[in-house]
């Protein structure tokens, strides 16, 4: 197999050597261009967050800031209760992620590998959730939470995050599990594993990639949620970081762009860190076939 690959590469190279010199330069340019298009806006946002308000209108958008105007960050941090929001966002996101992963693995396993009546139905039932428009749920959910007495508590948000994260996560996990070899499980069962041990020692470790994918995607979704946190908690002490982003547009739509960009930059910092630390995992997880059709 490895030999075949090497041989294949060799022959490809030989065949294309002359014709491909020009186009390989072209491709390099395209690739660099793509990377530039992906990166530049972020670079721009971070530099722009140091601009004073007059610079926004007096100078071209792409110009660098005159100086590092840290006041934007100070405004953003103080006015937006950023530290509280940061903690809240972290708490809600992490707790709901734990449950999403547990539920999606167990449900995903149950509907693909276990044998029981109605599993197809349950699977489809969960899949329907991918399609539910979020805004539809707001008013009914609000009433439900009121009735359950959890409106304006942490649980209102955490439960919502979990529930709305399930469908896509289960979809991802089942996609992966479908190509999961039955032989390994059979061998484990013959060795005397019961279902729980099977899950813990065989299935979960082999599903690392799928789990990383679920974690990452859901982390981004939850961290970026605005609609739910706006609706289901009213106590400032309980709100999340995305709500902090709204603190800067005043009554008549005038905006403090510098501070907005500063707070957006702050809100994406956890993601930047997470992404730069885990990017290998994430990309591996995504590529290594977490999502098999």
């Amino acid at each position: 197999m490895a030999q075949a690959a090497v041989a294949a590469q060799g022959s490809t190279r030989k065949k294309n050597r002359t014709g491909k010199v020009v186009s390989s330069v072209l491709i390099k340019i395209i690739v660099v261009l793509i990377c530039f298009i992906d990166i530049y806006p972020i670079f721009w946002m971070i530099t722009a967050s140091f601009k004073q308000s007059y610079e926004w209108s007096a100078k071209p958008a792409y110009s660098l800031p005159d100086g590092l105007y840290f006041q934007n960050y100070i405004d953003a941090w103080n006015r937006g209760h950023m530290s509280t929001f940061f903690m809240n966002s972290m708490t809600y996101t992490l707790i709901s992620l734990v449950f999403i992963v547990i539920f999606s693995v167990t449900v995903g396993f149950a509907v693909t590998k276990m044998q029981w009546k109605g599993r197809d139905f349950i699977n489809r039932y969960f899949q329907l959730g991918i399609m539910v428009p979020v805004a539809t749920a707001l008013i009914p959910l609000f009433q439900i939470y009121k009735g359950m007495n959890i409106y304006n508590t942490r649980w209102a948000l955490i439960l919502t995050y979990i529930a709305f994260g399930l469908s896509l996560s289960i979809y991802l996990v089942t996609g992966y599990l479908r190509s999961f070899p039955d032989e390994i499980m059979e061998a484990a069962v013959i060795d005397g594993c019961d279902i729980y041990k099977l899950m813990r020692f065989i299935v979960v470790p082999l599903m690392k990639n799928a789990i990383v994918t679920v974690l990452v995607l859901q982390f981004f979704f939850k961290w970026n949620d605005l609609l739910f946190s706006m609706t289901f908690v009213s106590d400032t002490k309980l709100k999340t970081i995305q709500t902090g982003l709204m603190y800067f547009s005043d009554e008549f739509g005038s905006k403090n762009w510098g501070a907005i960009f500063a707070s957006i930059s702050m809100s994406i910092i956890p993601m930047l860190i997470l992404y730069s630390v885990l990017n290998k995992f994430i990309i591996e997880g995504m590529t290594a076939g977490a999502v098999k059709g």
Partner: protein
């Protein structure tokens, strides 16, 4: 229907008399001594008496009720325990947020058992938040909302407190200026107020003096013809005549409104809303056409639909455009020395130029009360009343002291550092003898949406003036369905 007729009547006739009262109040206090509290109050009372006289029976009965009730609220604050929830759109250190928080903190000194929770939503999400809360009868004790049509729904559903009656009961009606009171009553089409004002604003054209000079314009236009000439002069001089924040939509509809009112009178929009006229009638179409013509002539510069009000304002201040329509709240930008490169005297103000003084006179201004405060009907109790009493009695002074702004309440002090711009606005408010409201004030949200959204395609030339007004009429017909 009856209410609407009354409202229309009030907007045209009563407001005139009542605004005079307002003018005298602010001039008496701004003209000098700090000890003018009595005179101010006196002026207020006489104006209030006029109001009362105009609506004889109603006022008489409520006043009688107020007489019996006022005894309970005249003494010391009983220091009732209350956890007060306020929903706002301004951060604690921003705009009205500062004032509301200051009042709450001050009140805690009077009543240590009073605690409050200050919640913030963005102004875009305010409506959604309120309707979700209203759906489960859980409106906050006090919340910021939009005056005019939006609160009418809440009034009809019996969800918000009759603040007019509440103030009479606590004996503090006089602290809300008659001008603000009558404006709010007009806007909600009721004969009492259901909301507290958070501003008393005039709107008009701000202009860059240096650019006017550069184009050789020596005086501000009084008539519409002069105005159009000036626009052309500016354009010919290579200056962008107008900046307009059409990304925020209302910046553009205000211009249509200005011409509509000047050509058809202050009640033009009310008539169309009542169905007495159609939005597609010639006068309305002509106003829309006027704005489109300006856009076609390049008066707004390129890409007017992508400019928001903030940007449009900076374009005026940085000398990129000569004229900008906005309200008196714009002074807060003008007072910001880093943003305002035109300097403390570089920007001037003129009212909407007149077409025919017999239809709409030069001392008629576009006015509004900004965003307003409502109280949840269910949660209004004794403690709330005490707080509201304190609120209306003090916010006028606090606003004047801290921000030099007029909020629609009487005040007895002066701002320590009143800027030229702030004074300019106070003078303009004094000049106002009658008022007209903004374009969408009489429209429900569906119609207002149509008016606001399509104004962008009107400006870009992708929709004709006729079609634009037709879309507004369609939205009205649809919403009545």
């Amino acid at each position: 229907m009856k209410k609407k007729v009354l409202a229309a009547f009030m907007s045209t006739v009563m407001l005139a008399g009542v605004l005079a009262g307002c003018g005298s109040s602010s001039s008496s206090s701004s003209s000098g001594s700090t000890g003018s509290a009595e005179t101010t109050a006196a002026a207020e009372t006489s104006a209030a008496a006029e109001t009362a006289a105009a609506e004889t029976t109603e006022a008489a009965t409520t006043e009688a009720a107020a007489d019996t009730g006022s005894g309970d609220f005249s003494g010391e604050d009983p220091q009732l325990t209350k956890d007060f929830h306020i929903l706002s759109i301004w951060a604690e250190d921003n705009d009205n947020g500062v004032l509301i928080n200051q009042i709450c903190k001050d009140y805690q000194k009077v009543n240590p058992n009073f605690t409050y929770e200050y919640e913030l939503v963005s102004s875009d999400d305010l409506r959604q938040k309120i309707s979700t809360l209203a759906a489960s009868n859980d409106l906050p004790d006090m919340f910021v909302y939009e005056s005019g049509k939006p609160i009418v729904d809440l009034i009809d559903a019996g969800q918000i407190t009759d603040i007019g009656a509440l103030l009479k009961e606590t004996g503090s009606s006089d602290y809300v200026t008659p001008a603000a009171t009558s404006l709010l009553e007009t806007l909600s089409g009721t004969d009492t107020i259901y909301d507290l004002p958070l501003g008393l604003n005039v709107e008009g054209f701000w202009y860059n003096k240096a650019l006017f000079e550069q184009a050789g314009i020596t005086k501000t236009p009084d008539t519409w013809d002069e105005f159009e000439e000036d626009l052309k002069t500016l354009k010919d001089a290579g200056i962008q005549p107008l900046s307009c924040g059409a990304a925020d939509k209302w910046g553009a509809t205000r211009l249509i409104n200005a011409y509509t009112v000047r050509t058809m009178g202050a009640d033009a929009m009310q008539k169309a809303a009542d169905g007495d006229t159609n939005y597609t009638d010639d006068g309305y179409v002509a106003a829309a056409q006027k704005i489109q013509d300006w856009a076609n002539a390049g008066y707004f510069g390129e890409g007017v639909n992508t400019v928001d009000m903030n940007t449009a304002g900076s374009m005026l201040m940085t000398g990129k455009a000569a004229i900008f329509y906005n309200g008196s709240w714009f002074t807060s930008n003008l007072n910001d020395t880093t943003a305002n490169q035109a300097g403390p005297d570089g920007i001037g103000f003129f009212n909407v130029p007149v077409v025919d003084p017999s239809i709409s006179p030069a001392d008629s201004y576009s006015m509004n009360c900004g965003n307003i405060l409502c109280l949840s009907q269910d949660k209004t109790d004794e403690a709330t009343k005490w707080f509201v009493k304190y609120f209306v009695e003090h916010i006028g002074d606090v606003a004047m002291e801290m921000q030099g702004s007029v909020k629609g309440y009487t005040y007895t002090t002066e701002a320590s550092d009143m800027s030229g711009y702030t004074q300019l606005v106070l003078d303009e408010i004094d000049k106002a003898k009658s008022a007209f409201t903004w374009y969408e004030a009489t429209m429900n949200s569906e119609v207002s949406d149509a008016a606001q959204q399509n104004v962008q395609t009107l400006l870009s030339g992708e929709m004709s003036a006729q079609d634009y007004m037709q879309s507004i009429q369609d939205a009205k017909d649809m919403s009545d369905m």
